[in-house]
């Protein structure tokens, strides 16, 4: 199945019954699939909105009413949704937002790129907030993480962002899909706005004029973010036991890096891979521990150097960081990356 289709199907199986979006390549297969599937499910709602801004605000509405809801877009469209994402965060509403990112800035192109890392992991919109950001690197993982993200969103009442790229969206791989959850069996939500008949009224708002009250709200959010930072870390390692140099890469770049590492391993170079899966929260602590043993980290991204800043913060001077990036929608080959890795490896006299 194609990555975009896997995400859409996994969302429906996780109980997502509301999808609002606006077309943009390379994620069009998500709304395409959703329109077909949701139209045939009882209670399914699919709306192709008049704009990205409208669609994210429809997400806010559906989430307030308690539905499992998703929207998807790519780079420029995600920029337009930032206002809504900031509101979702302030209102503490669960939602899943998929970004199949493409070459930027501006309209850029439609090729795979990782240039939205900063936007995704730093909140993206205005205000002091974070969103959970998950970066799958295969169709299987895209399905698994989408499925999981609905639970995370509900558990913490937080928007969850799936950060993929054009390659992940278009690539086809065999997948095992998760079982379908009946919507009726989802845990009830005690905060939804569904009409106050027979119960005290509730309200959800983001306008908090009293600075003391707003500060309290920010502290509350911060405590939630701290809890997530401790409990929801995801990462993968490959061949790091004897490694003298470790490549740090996420998403598609990690697939290419893994191919490169297999090549250089054949030549006897001791190189491993560390792949953050949750980009926020970033697996800082484990990377710090790794940097106590391995003194050379090679960060490879399909951008001009964004995650490398988180790596530097994590190791805090404890290891030497090398960076290689290809921006603009270029997909480097494993051969190219293996040559760069080798040249650093020998320059640093590691082998």
């Amino acid at each position: 199945m194609r990555g975009n289709h896997v995400i859409a199907e996994a969302a429906i199986r996780a109980g997502c019954r509301f999808y609002f979006g606006y077309p943009i390549t390379p994620q069009n297969e998500i709304p395409e699939y959703m329109s077909e599937r949701l139209s045939k499910i009882e209670g399914g709602v699919f709306i192709q909105a008049e704009s990205e801004i409208a669609s994210i605000h429809m997400v806010i509405g559906a989430s307030m009413a308690g539905g499992r809801v998703m929207t998807s877009s790519s780079g420029p469209g995600i920029s337009l949704k930032q206002e809504g994402i900031s509101f979702l965060s302030a209102l503490e509403l669960p939602a899943v937002i998929v970004n199949m990112s493409r070459g930027g800035p501006g309209l850029g192109n439609i090729a795979p790129s990782q240039s939205d890392y900063f936007q995704a992991t730093r909140g993206g919109g205005h205000g002091d907030y974070r969103t959970i950001v998950l970066a799958p690197n295969s169709c299987q993982e895209a399905g698994d993480l989408t499925y999981k993200s609905f639970d995370l969103a509900d558990k913490y009442r937080i928007p969850v962002l799936i950060l993929g790229d054009g390659m992940l969206g278009q690539m086809m791989e065999p997948v095992e899909l998760p079982p379908e959850i009946p919507v009726k069996r989802l845990p009830p939500k005690e905060w939804t706005i569904t009409g106050a008949k027979g119960r005290p009224s509730r309200f959800i708002r983001s306008l908090i004029l009293d600075p003391f009250e707003e500060e309290e709200h920010n502290w509350k959010l911060m405590r939630k973010y701290e809890k997530i930072s401790k409990e929801e870390l995801l990462w993968e390692t490959f061949s790091i036991e004897d490694a003298k140099m470790i490549v740090v890469a996420f998403g598609t770049a990690a697939r290419i890096a893994k191919g490169a590492i297999k090549r250089v391993r054949e030549e006897g170079l001791k190189v491993g891979l560390f792949r953050p899966i949750s980009l926020w929260p970033f697996p800082t602590k484990i990377l710090k521990e790794i940097s106590r043993k391995v003194k050379h980290l090679f960060v490879f991204e399909m951008n001009m150097g964004q995650m490398v800043e988180d790596v530097k913060l994590a190791v805090d001077g404890g290891a030497e960081i090398h960076f290689y990036g290809r921006p603009g929608g270029i997909i480097p080959t494993p051969l190219e990356i293996s040559r760069i890795i080798s040249s650093y490896y020998y320059q640093k006299k590691l082998g």
């Binding site: 390549t25 390379p26 439609i110 054009g166 390659m167 278009q170 690539m171 086809m172 791989e173 065999p174 697939r255 290419i256 893994k258 191919g259 490169a260 590492i261 297999k262 997909i331 480097p332 080959t333 494993p334 051969l335 190219e336």
Partner: protein, 177 residues
């Protein structure tokens, strides 16, 4: 075993479909597969290509640095991929459309006159399936039986199209003795 194949040609020649069917065939035979199509701005008459990896082990990268096989359906495709194929690899050429030939001596070249072969089908139809037939015969990546099953599952609800594609596949398969 890790075999990477690139299919390339004009949009509209069925390039992505060739890749999809091969990948599905690999999946039916219990192997790991990835299929990476080009997408978006490619339209009929533009360029299209598709990279398929079939492996018994986990596939690290779906991107091919040096493909084992290249299937080129038009001249720009050949110019682009002839020097990427690894030494000892095979390049399948649509000889009805491509007049030039690779200058490399370290490749095996299979020329398939697709337009001439498709005359048996009554015109330039299903040339991609003929090429796919030749491809699986030569490489043995998936069996003919599996591929017929794949085509059946893909086109099964349209018997006429299934029959046409199956016949085309056999023509290509039997082209190589």
């Amino acid at each position: 075993m890790l075999i990477k194949t690139v299919f390339s040609g004009f949009g509209g020649q069925g390039i992505i479909l060739m890749g999809y069917l091969l990948a599905t065939g690999g999946m039916y035979e219990g192997k790991n597969v990835t299929c990476l199509p080009s997408y978006g701005a490619e339209v009929r008459g533009g360029t299209a290509n598709c990279t398929v990896v079939i492996s018994k082990e986990e596939i690290a990268s779906p991107v091919a640095s040096e493909p084992d096989y290249a299937v080129v359906m038009n001249t720009p495709a050949m110019v682009r991929f002839q020097n990427q194929v690894q030494t000892g690899g095979i390049i399948f050429i649509n000889s009805s459309l491509i007049e030039i030939r690779p200058i490399r001596g370290d490749l095996e070249i299979i020329e398939v006159p697709l337009n001439e072969l498709s005359k048996q089908l009554g015109g330039n139809k299903a040339t991609n399936m003929i090429m796919l037939g030749t491809f699986i015969r030569k490489t043995g990546l998936v069996s003919l039986e599996t591929m017929i099953n794949v085509i059946k599952d893909t086109f099964g609800n349209r018997p006429g199209i299934f029959k046409l594609n199956k016949t085309a596949l056999s023509i290509g398969y039997n082209y190589l003795e």
